[in-house]
C-alpha cells in the first residue's frame, strides 16, 4: 500500500513537472495583460478568460500567413526528403553501397555547425535569388533532414527479407517492379513514421528560418521569436501563437507514442 502510494506520488510529481509548463502556454494565451503579470497564485488558474490575445494576433500580425508558410515548407520539404532518402536507403540496405562510408557521410551532415553552414548557403542563395523564398528554405530543410530520414528508412528496409525480393525476381520481375510492387508496400509504416518525423522537424526548425526568411516566406517560429522584443516581451501574443503552433506536435506525440522512440533511435530500439 505504502509502496503504491509512493509510486503514485513520484509519478504524479513527474507528470506535473512535465505538463505544467505546457499547460502554462494554454493558460496564458487566454489571460489579459493584467492577469499575466499579476503576482498572485490564485490568478494562475482563476482568471477571466479572454480571446484578446488571439484577436490581436490574427488582426495585427500575419499569423495565418506565416503558419501557412511553415506548412508549405514542411510539406514540400518532406516530399523531397522522402523521395531522395527512400531511394538511397534502399540502396544502402540492399547492397551496402559504399561500404557504410557514404551512409556515415550522410549522417554526419547533422554534425556540421548550422551557424556556419549558413554562411556559404547565404551567399549561394543570394546569387540564385533564393533568399526569403519557400523553395530556398525547403532545400535547406531537405539537407538537414535527409540524414535522419535515410538512416531511419535504412532500418526499416533492413527488416524486409531479401528472400521475398529474390522470389519476385525469379518470377520475372525487374528491379524497378520489385521496388514498386513488393518492397514499397511492405515498408508502408516506416514511410509514414519517417514522414511525420520530417514534418515535425521542419515545423519546429528555427535557425535557418530566422536567417533566410524576412517576410514572404517567414515561418511562424520567426514571428513568435519577434515578440521577444528589446524592451518588453509580449507574452500574451507569444503564448497565443505558440498554443496554436505546437498543437500539431503535441497531437503527434500523443498518437505516435509507439513509433517515436523507435524513430529517434533510428530503429535501434523496438519501442
Amino acid at each position: 500500500m505504502l509502496k503504491k502510494l509512493l509510486f503514485w506520488v513520484i509519478t504524479g510529481t513527474v507528470l506535473v513537472v512535465i505538463v505544467a509548463p505546457l499547460a502554462w502556454i494554454y493558460l496564458t494565451a487566454f489571460k489579459s495583460q493584467s492577469d499575466i503579470f499579476a503576482p498572485d497564485l490564485s490568478r494562475f488558474v482563476f482568471f477571466k478568460p479572454t480571446l484578446g490575445n488571439f484577436q490581436a494576433l490574427f488582426g495585427n500580425y500575419p499569423f495565418w500567413g506565416n503558419l501557412l508558410n511553415t506548412f508549405i515548407v514542411s510539406i514540400g520539404g518532406t516530399i523531397i526528403t522522402m523521395f531522395a532518402s527512400l531511394l538511397a536507403a534502399y540502396s544502402f540496405a540492399r547492397w551496402n553501397t559504399g561500404g557504410g562510408d557514404i551512409l556515415f557521410m550522410t549522417v554526419s551532415t547533422r554534425m556540421f555547425p548550422m551557424a556556419v553552414a549558413a554562411i556559404p548557403h547565404f551567399v549561394f542563395f543570394k546569387t540564385l535569388g533564393l533568399l526569403d523564398t519557400h523553395l530556398g528554405l525547403m532545400l535547406l530543410y531537405v539537407f538537414f533532414n535527409i540524414s535522419f530520414a535515410t538512416f531511419l528508412l535504412y532500418g526499416f528496409f533492413n527488416e524486409v527479407p531479401k528472400e521475398v525480393e529474390q522470389a519476385a525476381m525469379i518470377d520475372g520481375y525487374g528491379r524497378m517492379e520489385v521496388f514498386r510492387k513488393i518492397v514499397f508496400p511492405l515498408i508502408g509504416p516506416g514511410l509514414a513514421v519517417t514522414s511525420v518525423f520530417c514534418l515535425i522537424w521542419m515545423w519546429n526548425e528555427f535557425f535557418f528560418a530566422f536567417l533566410f526568411t524576412r517576410s514572404d516566406a517567414r515561418t511562424v517560429n520567426v514571428l513568435l521569436s519577434s515578440f521577444w522584443g528589446g524592451l518588453q516581451v509580449q507574452y500574451g501574443l507569444m503564448t497565443a501563437g505558440a498554443a496554436i503552433t505546437i498543437l500539431p506536435t503535441l497531437i503527434a506525440a500523443w498518437f505516435m507514442q509507439r513509433y517515436i522512440i523507435r524513430g529517434l533511435t533510428f530503429g535501434a530500439v523496438k519501442g
Binding site: 513527474v14 551557424a115 554562411i119 549561394f124 528491379r175 505558440a242 506525440a253 522512440i261 533511435t265
Partner: protein, 311 residues
C-alpha cells in the same frame, strides 16, 4: 559500356543485339544501386560538400563579407587556440554535455524502472510524459524565459509562496545550469522511453533464475539489468552528444549567450553573423565540426553494430 552489361534479370522485350536504353542501363542489376543514390549524392554535394569546402577555404582567409578575402594562412587557427572566450565556450559545451547526459540517463533509468510494470492508466502516463519531446525548442525557450522570470515568473511566485524565496535563475553562476535543466526537461522522456523499451525486452527467465537463486535486487540490477542495458545507454550517449553539441535554440529565447552561457554554436554564430568575421567564424566551425566527427565516428560504429540485422 551499356552494350556489354545486359541486365541479369528482367525481360528483353525485343531483339538481342539491340543496345540497351539509358533507362535500362540505369536500372540494370549492376548500376541500379548507384542510380538510387543519385538524388542523395547531388543534395549532399550541393549542401554539404560545398559549404564544407567553402568554410575550409575561408578559415584560411580574412573576410568581413565585403571586398576580397585576404589570405592569412594559419592565423585564424592560431588565434583560436589562444582565444579564451572560445576555449571557455568549448569547455562549457562539454559541461552541458556531461551534465545533461548524466542526469538524463540517471533519472531516465529511475523512471524506466518505476514504470516498467502494468499499472492503471499507464497509457495516459506514458502519453503525457512524451509530450515535451516534439515541441519546438525555440518556443520552449521563449516559454521558459517567461516562467523563470525573476519578477513575475510562475516558478518564482510559487517559490515565494512556499517560503523558499525568489531565486534569480539567470544569475551568471547558475544560468548555465538553468539551460541544462531546460534541455533535460525536454529530453528526459527520450532516455526514459528508450530504457523502458529495453527493460521490457529483457528475457524473463534469467531474472526468474536469479530470483530463485536468492540474488538480491541490487545484485540483480548491477549484474544483469545494467549490462543488458549497456548498448541502449551507448545509443543514448551517442545521439544526445550529437544533438547537444549543436545546442542553439534554447539560448535564443533566454540568455542569448549572455551571463556565462555562451556555447560552441552560439559563439560561432556570433563571430560570423554579428561580428561578420567570416574567416575566424569558419575556423571555429571547422574546429568544432572536426571534434564532433571524431567523437561520433567512434560511437557511430557502436550504433551500427546495435542496429545490424540480427539473424
Amino acid at each position: 559500356m551499356p552494350s556489354n552489361s545486359p541486365p541479369v534479370t528482367g525481360r528483353w522485350p525485343e531483339g538481342e543485339g539491340r543496345k540497351a536504353t539509358v533507362w535500362e542501363t540505369l536500372t540494370s542489376e549492376r548500376y541500379f544501386r548507384w542510380t538510387l543514390l543519385v538524388p542523395l549524392l547531388v543534395l549532399l554535394a550541393i549542401f554539404m560538400l560545398y559549404p564544407l569546402v567553402y568554410s575550409i577555404y575561408f578559415s584560411f582567409h580574412d573576410w568581413g563579407m565585403q571586398g576580397a578575402p585576404v589570405f592569412s594562412g594559419l592565423r585564424n587557427y592560431r588565434q583560436l587556440v589562444n582565444d579564451r572566450e572560445f576555449l571557455i565556450a568549448f569547455r562549457r559545451t562539454l559541461e552541458v554535455l556531461f551534465i545533461c547526459i548524466a542526469v538524463e540517463i540517471g533519472l531516465g533509468l529511475g523512471l524506466a524502472l518505476l514504470w516498467n510494470r502494468d499499472f492503471k492508466g499507464q497509457n495516459v502516463v506514458r502519453g503525457l510524459a512524451l509530450l515535451p519531446l516534439l515541441v519546438a525548442p525555440l518556443i520552449l525557450s521563449l516559454l521558459w524565459n517567461f516562467i523563470l522570470d525573476f519578477n513575475f515568473g510562475a516558478l518564482n511566485l510559487v517559490f515565494q509562496a512556499i517560503g523558499i524565496g525568489k531565486v534569480n535563475l539567470w544569475r551568471p553562476d547558475i544560468a548555465l545550469f538553468t539551460i541544462c535543466a531546460m534541455t533535460i526537461w525536454q529530453w528526459l522522456p527520450f532516455s526514459t522511453f528508450v530504457l523502458l523499451a529495453g527493460l521490457k525486452s529483457l528475457p524473463r527467465d534469467v531474472f526468474e533464475a536469479a530470483r530463485v537463486d536468492g540474488a538480491s535486487r541490487f545484485y540483480t540490477f548491477r549484474r544483469l539489468t545494467l549490462p543488458m542495458l549497456t548498448p541502449l545507454i551507448m545509443i543514448i550517449v551517442l545521439l544526445r552528444s550529437m544533438w547537444l553539441i549543436r545546442l542553439f535554440d534554447p539560448l535564443f529565447g533566454t540568455t542569448r549567450g549572455g551571463v556565462n552561457t555562451e556555447l560552441l554554436d552560439w559563439i560561432t554564430y556570433r563571430t560570423s553573423f554579428v561580428m561578420f568575421d567570416i574567416g575566424y567564424g569558419s575556423a571555429m566551425a571547422i574546429a568544432s565540426w572536426a571534434f564532433t566527427m571524431a567523437l561520433c565516428l567512434v560511437m557511430f560504429r557502436q550504433l551500427m553494430n546495435a542496429m545490424a540485422p540480427k539473424t
